[in-house]
């Protein structure tokens, strides 16, 4: 794909939505600062805020980057360029994922840094933090897949609602699983079998959603 237009498409998407990225990063950092202040209230407030920022991003991005391309009729403009539908899907997935991953990673790293340097959260909670933070990433990949394949705002919103409802249940289940919470309060992070298996399943789900998107997109005969 030496001559492919994909890099320009990705750059274009990032340029168009840089404000959204900036706002999310800003909100997330603010949340972490609040968490730092110490005390249970700050902790709860900050961490809620933190997750809300990530989840909102997970919902907004697919809609603004994928669904709107069809709604605002700029898709014809993009498809008039030397690009196939597969290349378009690739560019969209990469740019939207990037736009989510950058703030997500940044905030995750900040959160992890907090646990290692600060005194509010013990290091033993690190695997849990990672596991929980991966949930919005999975949700995001589901919403993104639905947005790309269904081309419909309605379906994307439905996916958003489903995912948002499941986060709470997932978190509850995780916090109530003894094999996961047993090492919470330790001073060191322990990556045991259970944790690793769960992480593998989480990454696997994301990979599955992406492959499914490519597969379903390639079967479309009327792209626009």
């Amino acid at each position: 794909m030496t001559d492919s237009v994909i890099p320009q498409l990705i750059r274009k998407d990032l340029r168009l939505h840089r404000l959204q990225m900036a706002i999310t990063i800003g909100a997330g950092i603010l949340a972490l600062v609040v968490m730092q202040r110490g005390g249970e209230v700050s902790l709860v407030l900050g961490s809620t805020w933190y997750f809300v920022a990530i989840i909102v991003l997970a919902c907004m991005l697919p809609v603004s980057m994928v669904v709107n391309e069809r709604k605002k009729q700029t898709l014809a403009f993009v498809m008039s360029l030397p690009v196939s539908s597969t290349q378009y899907t690739t560019a969209k997935l990469v740019s939207t994922l990037l736009m989510f991953l950058v703030p997500w990673l940044l905030l995750l790293v900040c959160a992890l840094a907090l646990t290692t340097t600060g005194n509010t959260i013990p290091q033993g909670a690190i695997p849990m933090v990672v596991i929980m933070a991966l949930l919005p990433l999975i949700g995001f990949s589901v919403i993104l897949a639905v947005a790309i394949v269904s081309e419909s705002e309605g379906w994307a919103i439905a996916a958003t609602v489903v995912c948002n409802s499941t986060y709470g249940i997932a978190w509850y289940l995780i916090t109530k699983t003894p094999s996961l919470t047993v090492n919470w309060t330790r001073h060191v992070a322990i990556w045991d079998q259970t944790v690793l298996r769960l992480l593998f399943a989480e990454f696997g789900s994301v990979a599955l959603m992406i492959s499914l998107t490519f597969f379903l997109q390639s079967r479309k005969r009327d792209f626009i």
Binding site: Q8, L16, K72, Q73, A76, M79, S80, P82
Partner: protein
């Protein structure tokens, strides 16, 4: 060297309420083809198929030698496509779009782009959302023209434009034809524009191609004969005539395969030919569509 810029053979596409039925057309390199049809006739679908945006159910599409949609990436490097329902990014400026296109196509001619900006009365620093409809259309066309593509595919490029803007666009399209290696396919409701600048005309109605041929030959075949008929005589539709309307002693015969003998043929039957009129493309369009629909229903 007469390569075909566009070659569609037996293209079929089925939708729930509409289908394209064995569409075949050819556009030789260096020519302009005007595609005319009523709303919903299938112009946009045909154009999307030849752009590789829609996959046909049957038939072959070759554009600039590339089979579509298989080689759409290679083909689209040399095609400039603009359709009436296409939009640019509202929050960005025209200048940003120009840089964007320039980063993709090596053929971008910036000095020509500047000339077009002036000619169309546009400014590069304007955001798309602040432009009027006519300015948006001209912006889209500027982006497509400044690349000097080998083939221009335009779906209703002048629809909704005021007469001045339409004239500006037509002049630019006519200038493209100075290069005999470049070709244009455009669909339009404006039969006057099509009549003026097309080398070839294709009529499409209800998913079928009714006619596709050389414009001058086509205009030559259509005539309207005004006849004075002696009382009591009922005029038949002679070969080459598709419609005869008679009211009392005056009749009008519409011919789609006119030969000078036709006038004589009517005179020998007792009618007096008052005059033989040329028909505008619009009149031909309406007569043709009505005739072909009658034929299909029969």
């Amino acid at each position: 060297m007469n390569d075909l810029a566009i070659e569609l053979t037996g293209i079929c596409k089925r939708y729930r309420y509409f289908s394209l039925d064995k569409i075949s057309l050819q556009l030789p390199q260096g020519e302009i083809m005007g595609l005319i049809g009523a709303n919903g006739a299938g112009k946009s679908t045909t154009i999307r198929i030849l752009m590789g945006l829609i996959h046909q159910d049957a038939g072959e599409a070759r554009v600039l030698g590339h089979p579509m949609p298989a080689e759409q990436v290679a083909a689209k490097r040399d095609i400039g496509f603009a359709s009436e329902d296409m939009r640019l990014y509202d929050s960005m400026t025209l200048g940003w779009h120009m840089s964007f296109i320039q980063s993709i196509y090596p053929n971008w001619d910036d000095s020509y782009a500047q000339v077009l900006l002036k000619r169309f009365g546009l400014r590069a620093d304007q955001k798309i959302k602040s432009l009027s409809h006519g300015q948006r259309v001209k912006s889209t066309l500027l982006l497509v023209l400044a690349r000097k593509p080998k083939l221009l595919v335009l779906d209703e490029p002048t629809t909704g434009l005021d007469p001045v803007a339409r004239h500006e666009i037509l002049r630019e399209l006519a200038h493209v034809m100075q290069d005999d290696g470049r070709s244009i396919l455009f669909s339009s409701h404006n039969t006057q524009d099509v009549e003026q600048i097309s080398d070839r005309i294709t009529f499409i109605d209800r998913g079928r191609i009714i006619d596709s041929m050389d414009k001058e030959m086509y205009l030559d075949r259509w005539r309207r004969l005004r006849l004075e008929v002696p009382p009591g005589l009922h005029l038949p539709a002679l070969p080459g005539v598709i419609d005869v309307r008679q009211q009392g002693r005056l009749a009008v015969a519409t011919a789609n395969a006119f030969v000078p003998d036709l006038a004589n043929a009517y005179e020998t039957r007792g009618a007096r030919v008052q005059c033989i009129e040329n028909m505008t493309l619009e009149e031909i369009f309406v007569a043709n569509v009505e005739h072909s629909r009658e034929e299909v229903e029969a």
